[in-house]
Each structure stands twice: as structure tokens, then as C-alpha cells.
């Protein structure tokens, strides 16, 4: 289920209606804004934030330049896009690093918002970015929280500092940082216990931790499914702790994520990351402008390219480029491509990022088909993979048996491969012919099963 899909769908419908009209009257805009208002409210955006947002757009959209321009609908969409981006923070906000390490990051939030998992994800993210992070277990209240952090730490390959549950969280935080300094860790992530924003005693405890360790960042973890209450929570944590940023968790469900749009508006704190899955690598930096495009159905090509770059092996990509030029793309390469394509993450998420592709949102993208294709190719001999034309019916039967599929499945795969091969050969011819204007090869560009 694509991110923020419900909101996205509704707003796109509104835009579609607008685009259908050549000229726009004030009434048309009023009607469109009313629908956007409802869509936002339904997406749990705080109602005060919605009011302000709508009135801003109204002010800009009702002007003569918009109404009398040749493409009024486009102008309105642009205004909504700009305002939406602004509402979510304008531009990307990164983690503030300490001048002299270690950088101390404190994670706070309500119970069940996903702090411990997020701590693990952030630790892994930092580690992948070349830092040496350490996790500090300062949740001494929830049963088995320390154990959970250890498991998460082990999975992400990041060490965990703990002192059991009999020591005060303030002392644990202090000693944790001391330990980090002594052992050369440059990022300290403190996992604190979940607490209610109106629980005076426990909020005071956070203030004591803050005063004792002077963190560079205090990040509030907010569940993307939170309703109108998100604003109360964020305001309270901001008031008590001066939080420096927000991580939005669980954005991978059909959460409408309205919290994302309100929290920034009421606290002024930027959203720094979003959690988009249960696996530890499912954490993405938050880009307001890209999220706005996604909501408005304009796709998010930048994130897609980054994902592709991460998932694909550069050397293999070069090798592929060479093969394409020599027109020697075979089933072995096809298999490699399938694997790398799957590395990029769930198909639905990928398609959501391609402009225009969310029309196909309801298409059932069956990852199993990809797995099946892999199995079929893996059941072929090396010779068969290099020369698919030798695959006769008895070979097909053997391959089907070996891969647990049917001969029809094998046939289908071979047909798809030959289409891809044809396409690739054309690309090879193209990139060979035109000098100077080299075509950049989108080596992720052929999902074979859609």
C-alpha cells in the first residue's frame, strides 16, 4: 500500500476535475478547496492546520494571474504543491552533528510509537553512512525493553550499552556517553522509555536526562497513524524538552499520515526521517518536496534513483552496459536484473515513485511472479542461459519440474525475455550510433511482469 495513498487519491481526483475545465471560476476553486479540506481532515491533519492551509491557498489561487492564465488548473496545483511542501518543512533537515564527537541523539515518544525499532534503524542508517554508533538502553520500565534493544542492536550490528533496569535512566545515559567516548564511538543513540506527555514525573525524568547529557538532537518518534491528538503530544514534548526534530514511524500501512503535516506546523520542528517497514533498513530521510509530489501523484523520481543506486552494484551495471552495447544480453543477465530489481524494495513502493504510475496502483503486483521467474532461470543449465534458443520441449519440461512451475510458465518467461532482449538490443544500437549524446541506460527499467 503506497504511502499516504488515501490522501493522495482524493487530492488527485480533485485535480482531475480542475484540469477538465478550461477556465476556472472562483466557484470552481471554492469547490476544489472544500474537497481538499475534507481530504486533509480525513487524513487526520489537525483541523486548525487545515484551516490555515486552505486559507493560504485560497488567497493565492483567487488572484487574477491564476484565474486568467492559460492553464489555471496547473497554477492551482502548483500553489497546492508549494504550500504542501512548505507545510511539511520546505527542505530536507539532516541530523545536527556535534563539533566534537560523540553526537548524542535522544529518542523520546509515547508508548508504542516505535522508539526501540526506530533506534535500531537509525543506528543501522548511521553505520551505513560510515559512523560508529552505539545504542544506550535507558528504558528501565517496560518489561524486556532492554532485551529488545539488544536484539535490535545485534541485527543491525551495533553494540548496546546497558546497566540493567535497577539504575536510573539519567545515570545510564551519562555512563553510556562516557563509555562511548572511551571506546571511540561517534554517535550515541539513547532509547528512552515511552511515556505520556502529561505524565509530569516521567517528563521531568526526560528533562533530567537532557540536562545531564546535553544531547545534540532530541527526536520525537510519532506514529503516523496518530489522530488529532498528535498535535497535543508534539506540543507537550516540545514545551518540556525543546525537541529538535521528529521521526514519523509506521508510514508503510495505509496510514494517512496527517500527523506529518500537522506536527511541523505546530512545533516548527522538522521531520527528519520516516519509518516505512518492519525491517531495520526501512528508514528514509524525509524530503518535504518529494513527499508533496508523492501526495499529489507526481511521483518521486529522485528517491527512486537513489534507491536504484543503493541497490545496484556499480560494477555489474557497467558490465551490463557493455553487454548491451555488444548485444549479448542473456538469461544470466536477466536473472541478475531481476534480483537487483527486487533489492530495491517492494514493487508497489517503487511504482508509486514513478510519475504517472500510480494509475496502476490497484494492479496486483505479485512479487511471487518475480520469485518464480528467478526459480525458472536458476533451473536452467549455463548453456541454456547463454543460448535460450536451444531450450526445446523436453528441456522445458525438465526446467518446469526443477523450478516447481509449469511448462506454460517457462514459455511465458522465455517470451518475456525475448521481448526484453529485443528492447535491449535496440537500446544498444541506439547508444552506439549517436555520438556525443549518449543515452543514460536506465538499468532498472524493465519490470518484466507488469
Amino acid at each position: 500500500m503506497p504511502i499516504l495513498s488515501n490522501l493522495s487519491e482524493k487530492i488527485q481526483q480533485v485535480f482531475k476535475k480542475l484540469k477538465g475545465k478550461g477556465k476556472l471560476t472562483e466557484k470552481d476553486i471554492e469547490a476544489a478547496l472544500r474537497e481538499i479540506r475534507l481530504a486533509l481532515l480525513e487524513a487526520d491533519v489537525n483541523y486548525k492546520v487545515v484551516k490555515e492551509f486552505i486559507s493560504k491557498i485560497k488567497n493565492k489561487a483567487m488572484g487574477h494571474e491564476v484565474l486568467e492564465s492559460l492553464t489555471p488548473a496547473q497554477q492551482v496545483i502548483k500553489i497546492v504543491n508549494d504550500e504542501l511542501t512548505e507545510l511539511m518543512g520546505g527542505s530536507q533537515s539532516k541530523i545536527e552533528l556535534a563539533d566534537s564527537p560523540p553526537t548524542v541523539i535522544m529518542l523520546v515518544g509515547l508508548q508504542g510509537s516505535g522508539k526501540t525499532t526506530t533506534a535500531g534503524k537509525l543506528a543501522l542508517h548511521m553505520k551505513k553512512s560510515g559512523y560508529r554508533p552505539i545504542l544506550v538502553a535507558a528504558d528501565v520500565y517496560r518489561p524486556a525493553a532492554v532485551k529488545q534493544l539488544h536484539v535490535v542492536g545485534e541485527k543491525s550490528g551495533v553494540p548496546v550499552f546497558d546497566m540493567g533496569t535497577e539504575v536510573s535512566p539519567v545515570e545510564i545515559a551519562q555512563k553510556g556517553i562516557k563509555h562511548a567516548k572511551a571506546s571511540g564511538f561517534d554517535i550515541v543513540l539513547i532509547d528512552t522509555a515511552g511515556r505520556l506527555h502529561i505524565d509530569k514525573e516521567l517528563m521531568d525524568e526526560l528533562v533530567r536526562i537532557k540536562d545531564a547529557v546535553l544531547p545534540n538532537e532530541i527526536l520525537l518518534v510519532v506514529d503516523a497513524m496518530t489522530g488529532q491528538d498528535a498535535v497535543n503530544v508534539a506540543e507537550a514534548f516540545y514545551r518540556e524538552l525543546n525537541i529538535t526534530g521528529v521521526i514519523l514511524s509506521k508510514l508503510d500501512g495505509d496510514a494517512r499520515g496527517g500527523a506529518a503535516l500537522s506536527v511541523k506546523a505546530v512545533t516548527g520542528c522538522p521531520i527528519k526521517y520516516v519509518g516505512v517497514g518492519e525491517k531495520l533498513d526501512a528508514l528514509e530521510p524525509f524530503h518535504p518536496e518529494r513527499m508533496a509530489s508523492r501526495i499529489l501523484g507526481m511521483g518521486d523520481v529522485l528517491t527512486l534513483i537513489e534507491k536504484a543506486q543503493q541497490a545496484f552494484d556499480q560494477d555489474k551495471a557497467k558490465e551490463l552496459e557493455r553487454k548491451i552495447k555488444q548485444r549479448s544480453f542473456d538469461l544470466e543477465d536477466f536473472l541478475e536484473q531481476l534480483k537487483e530489481f527486487r533489492n530495491m524494495g517492494p514493487l508497489e513502493e517503487i511504482f508509486e515513485m514513478i510519475p504517472g504510475m500510480n494509475k496502476f496502483k490497484n494492479l496486483q503486483l505479485d512479487e511471487k511472479e518475480l520469485i518464480k521467474a528467478e526459480a525458472i532461470i536458476q533451473s536452467m543449465t549455463k548453456e541454456e542461459r547463454a543460448n535460450p534458443e536451444i531450450i526445446n520441449s523436453s528441456r522445458k519440461r525438465r526446467i518446469a519440474m526443477g523450478s516447481g512451475t509449469t511448462v506454460q510458465d517457462v514459455n511465458r518467461l522465455l517470451k518475456q525475455f525475448s521481448q526484453v532482449q529485443m528492447m535491449i538490443n535496440r537500446m544498444g544500437a541506439f547508444s552506439g550510433k549517436k555520438k556525443g549524446r549518449k543515452m543514460k541506460l536506465p538499468n532498472w527499467g524493465f519490470p518484466p511482469f507488469i
Binding site: 536484539v151 488529532q228 498528535a230 500501512g253
Partner: protein
């Protein structure tokens, strides 16, 4: 334990405003016009009641106002309050155990709503009623979930049936059921891993858990309870809908009502899906679980002093 609850209540009471407490001052003595209706709409939306239910409610109000010639704005409030109570009362019945046999209760929900804590509270409640309780640790996915359940069980003196982390949850449920039958337990509560309702494979997995239980004991599971976090917004409707489609829920446990969220989301859920609320959770203490009372709940939505517990 009681003094802890007292403490908690004190700590929370100051900030415990009623969700719609503001409505009173809003409508007080005002003329009944569209402007007022729209403002009431805003407040109801702010309470997570959701667009559809709010529009429905307001349509009802407008009709009543016209039909009965109401011109007192306070009456409008009691009209709304009564309507919400009526919605919540629909097929609302307390959870009843069948005596003289094993009762299997499956507890499900998305991540972080408080399933394990709610199970501990439920177990405590049944144990206090003199029942023999057993727990099944079928959350084999989340790190340290089994330990968390065991820790609670240890405090309560209740046995947990478990396997390794990562093992098949349906197999754990099967083991737990067999153990409960042979130990002649009255209640078996099965903890399951949190899962987003949109993850097809995980929803298939939980259906399988239910299938395994029904196959081994006819009539089981006797209850399938969905745990909902009161701070959740409109997504809770999707949670209730999809879990209900997969498992035929018998009730809801609404947790975390001790925060500033008042769980208004329950109104559209009961209204649109007809799944009754069975319990509410109001704190981290083992005793902080109460049977749901529609009258008190809607009262609490409107009055700060209205007792939820």
C-alpha cells in the same frame, strides 16, 4: 498497587479535559445557525470522529432541530451526546466466559497498541475472578516479545506456553491449546505479533492461527479481540475493518485512554462496522482495565468530570 493507581489518577487529572468540553462554552447561549453547526462540526472532527460520522451526526441534529423546533443551543449538545451514546450501545455486551469449559481468546492488532499489556491486565482480571488462566506466546516475531509476556506472567504467577523467537505462531497456538486442554484451564489468551492490517502475508498468517485453533476445538476461539490505541486517527477504521474481514472480531479493547486522546475514533467504528467495545485501558498498572460503559464513555467525551472509571 491501589496507591499507584491513585497516584496516576492525580497526576493525570489536571490535564484531563473533556474532548468536547469546549463545546459547552462554544454553543452557550448562541443562535442556532449554520455557522454554529459548522463550528460544532470542527470540534467533532477534532475528536477523531471522522468525516462520515460527523456529517451523519450533524444531519441528524439539523433534522431534529427542525422537527422539534429546538431553539436552545444546550439542547443540541444533549442531542449529540445522546446520539453518540445510542451508537455506542449498539450490540454492546460485556465479555462473558462460558463456565465449565476452556475459553480461548485471541488478541490481535497493529504494532505498538498495547496488546501484551492488555493481555496481562485481562489475565489478572480473570485470575482474580478465580479462573485458571494460561497464556500462549504466539508473537514470535518482535524482538523480546516473549520475554515481555513472560515477565508479566511471572508477576501474576501464570504459566506461558512458548517456543523460540521466530517459530511458527500457529504451532505455538496449537501447543498452547493442547496444554490448556490438558491442564483444564478456564481461559487461554493468545498473544499475537503486531501487524499492519494492509500486509497481506501477515494477515494470512493470523488467519491460519485462527484456523488451527478452530480445527482443534470447535467453537474456539471464543473471542477475537482487536486492541486499538485511543490516539489513533482515521486509520483505526481501516484497522477494524480489515482485521474484522480476516478474523470476524468479537470485540475491541481501547487502550491508552489515560493520555489526552479520548478515543473518539471508536464512534465511527461502532457506527460503521458494528464491532462492540469490550474493555478500555487507562494506564500501565495491571488493574487499569475496565469494562466499557457506553453511557459513561459518552459522558466523559463531554464532561471533564464525567467518570470513565
Amino acid at each position: 498497587m491501589p496507591e499507584i493507581i491513585g497516584k496516576l489518577k492525580n497526576r493525570l487529572s489536571k490535564t484531563r479535559d473533556a474532548l468536547f468540553g469546549g463545546l459547552k462554552s462554544l454553543v452557550g447561549g448562541r443562535k442556532l445557525d449554520e455557522e454554529l453547526f459548522e463550528e460544532i462540526e470542527d470540534v467533532l472532527i477534532q475528536g477523531d470522529l471522522g468525516i462520515n460520522t460527523v456529517l451523519e451526526l450533524m444531519e441528524f441534529v439539523r433534522k431534529e432541530v427542525k422537527a422539534k423546533g429546538i431553539n436552545n443551543s444546550d439542547e443540541v449538545l444533549s442531542l449529540i451526546k445522546q446520539k453518540i451514546e445510542d451508537i455506542l450501545k449498539e450490540n454492546c455486551e460485556p465479555l462473558k466466559l462460558i463456565s465449565g469449559q476452556l475459553n480461548v481468546i485471541m488478541v490481535v492488532g497493529v504494532n505498538g497498541v498495547g496488546k501484551t499489556t492488555s493481555i496481562a491486565k485481562l489475565a489478572n482480571k480473570f485470575k482474580k475472578d478465580g479462573k485458571r488462566v494460561l497464556l500462549g506466546a504466539a508473537d514470535t516475531f518482535r524482538a523480546a516479545a516473549i520475554e515481555q509476556l513472560e515477565e508479566w506472567a511471572g508477576r501474576l504467577g501464570i504459566e506461558v506456553i512458548k517456543q523460540q523467537e521466530g517459530s511458527d505462531p500457529a504451532a505455538v497456538a496449537f501447543d498452547a491449546l493442547k496444554a490448556a486442554q490438558s491442564r483444564k484451564a478456564d481461559v487461554l489468551i493468545i498473544d499475537t505479533a503486531g501487524r499492519l492490517q494492509t500486509k497481506k502475508n501477515l494477515m494470512e498468517e493470523i488467519k491460519k492461527i485462527k484456523r488451527v485453533i478452530s480445527r482443534e476445538m470447535s467453537g474456539a476461539p471464543h473471542e477475537v479481540l482487536l486492541v486499538l490505541d485511543a490516539t489513533t486517527g482515521q486509520n483505526a477504521i481501516s484497522q477494524a475493518k480489515l482485521f474484522n474481514e480476516a478474523l470476524e472480531l468479537t470485540g475491541i479493547i481501547l487502550t491508552k485512554l489515560d493520555g489526552t486522546a479520548k478515543g473518539g475514533i471508536i464512534v465511527p467504528i461502532v457506527n460503521e462496522l458494528g464491532i462492540p467495545v469490550k474493555f478500555i485501558g487507562v494506564g500501565e498498572g495491571i488493574e487499569d482495565l475496565y469494562e466499557f460503559d457506553p453511557a459513561k464513555f459518552s459522558e466523559a467525551l463531554f464532561d471533564a468530570e464525567g467518570g470513565m472509571n
